[in-house]
Amino acid sequence: MVEEDSLKQQSLLAAWWSMVMRDLTLAMRRRADVLTTLFFFLIVVSLFPLGVSPEMNILRGIAPGVIWVAALLASMLSLGRLFSDDYQDGTLEQMLLLPQPLSVMVLGKVLAHWLVSGVPLVLLAPLLGIQMGLDSSAIGLLMLTLLLGTPVLSLIGSVGAALTLGVRGGGVLVSLLVLPLYIPVLIFGTGAVDAGTSGMDFEGHLSLLGAFLVLAALLTPLATAAALRISVE
């Protein structure tokens, strides 16, 4: 019995791992998709100095907010890739039939999605921070908040992506569903950087972002799994 249980666990882990690797491989074979999102992030941020003012003092003030909002939009844009290909070629139906719990598989897919679309945003943030006149400590803090926050965005976004699978106008619709739910992450992500640059305590913000991450990692895979079952049946 004990052996059987451990065997089950092994197979769950193996299935989860192969799901992550599969999605990463697929993403690596279609690098253009990833790069498009990254360039979108870059372009949106570059529009702000042109639209608002090239004055470094003003830019420094709005930089955390601008970079965070651009990250929000970029991660939302990439949500379309999360399930739609699998939905169209029937892989998703096979996933629903797996003996392993769907929510765990979803967590694997979201992890792969974050590695491909979230981590590059974190890595690109310092470049944009320099452009916007942030100093190095603020840039470090910005990267830290993005590191904690972007997985939450991917997790919450997965619910929206699953709900709008195969729906006409799904791309725009998903923004309507998901952006209001992103607001707490935005508030504490930018709040931490603002607090850090004005010399206030920012640990509370980071703790809250971490709490959001834990909560989202626990709850959203269940909601996404339920949404996938609704969408595919």
Partner: protein, 257 residues
């Protein structure tokens, strides 16, 4: 007695039995809504005293505050119906959630609009990024998301279940959003502008507000039951009793699909 009640709940959760019951209840709720609204409006315009600080402009709160209460409460009720519909696969609960959304969105909009009208003479501006205003605005976005997801999906059963799940996700997020916005607000600006009223509100004002809230409740129930009846007919149009009820109109109903 309790046992009998349980039976009645099950009995009326079937769309077939709900339809005539709702039809009989609607005039009563409309009647109550109109009577209470007349009393409430009379009290708010003629009985309630003029506020010594805000003058006559404050009277809009008799619409504003009940509308804001309703906007939040309806979302909660909607999510409860969605949860019931999801857990026990009660079709009628899904339909009630669908029927509640437009009224909730309407009250949210009304609360924002009257708030802006109250803010202009009182704060000197139509809009401030105050915690309550901002979270009310986000609530409006959540309602709009619910309604647009519902209308984007063709299959009504999938639409009901998908938007129901969204309502449940939203209701878990609402307190998080509310407290985030509140904290964000206190960090960014002092509490110099705050819509809290004087703590000692005249009891006549409180009573008027309560009467207006109950009037809004009655209106909501009446409108939601009316909308739910339409939804029942639309979604159950294949059922025998609907075809019978509509007589020869079956062709019309099937042509709409």
């Amino acid at each position: 007695m309790v046992f009998k009640n349980t039976i009645a709940w099950y009995y009326f959760s079937s769309p077939k039995n709900f339809y005539p019951l709702a039809g009989r209840l609607i005039p009563w709720f409309w009647g109550l809504a109109v009577i209470l609204l007349v009393i409430g409006l009379y009290m708010s315009f003629f009985v309630a005293p003029t506020d010594y600080k805000q003058g006559e402009a404050y009277r809009i709160i008799f619409i504003h505050v009940p509308a804001a209460w309703m906007s939040m409460f309806i979302y909660l009720v909607m999510a409860c119906y969605a949860a019931i519909g999801m857990a026990w696969k009660v079709r009628l609960a899904d339909m009630m959630a669908t029927a509640l959304a437009p009224t909730g969105a309407m009250f949210t909009f009304l609360a924002l609009w009257t708030g802006a009208f109250w803010g202009k003479p009182t704060w000197g501006t139509y809009w401030v990024w105050d915690a309550r205003l901002t979270s009310e605005l986000i609530l409006l976005f959540l309602y709009i998301g619910f309604i647009s997801l519902q209308s984007a999906i063709e299959d009504p059963r999938r639409a009901a279940r998908a938007s129901g799940l969204l309502a449940i996700v939203g209701v878990i997020n609402l307190p998080i959003i509310y407290y985030s916005v509140k904290w964000w607000n206190t960090l960014h600006q002092g509490a110099s502008v705050s819509p809290t009223m004087a703590p000692k509100m005249a009891s006549i004002m409180l009573n008027t507000m309560l009467i207006m809230s109950i009037a809004f409740w009655m209106y909501t129930i009446a409108v939601v039951l009316m909308r739910a009846r339409r939804i029942v007919l639309e979604r159950e149009r294949q059922a025998g009793w609907v075809v019978e009820l509509l007589g020869g109109k079956k062709q019309d109903a099937s042509r709409e699909t």
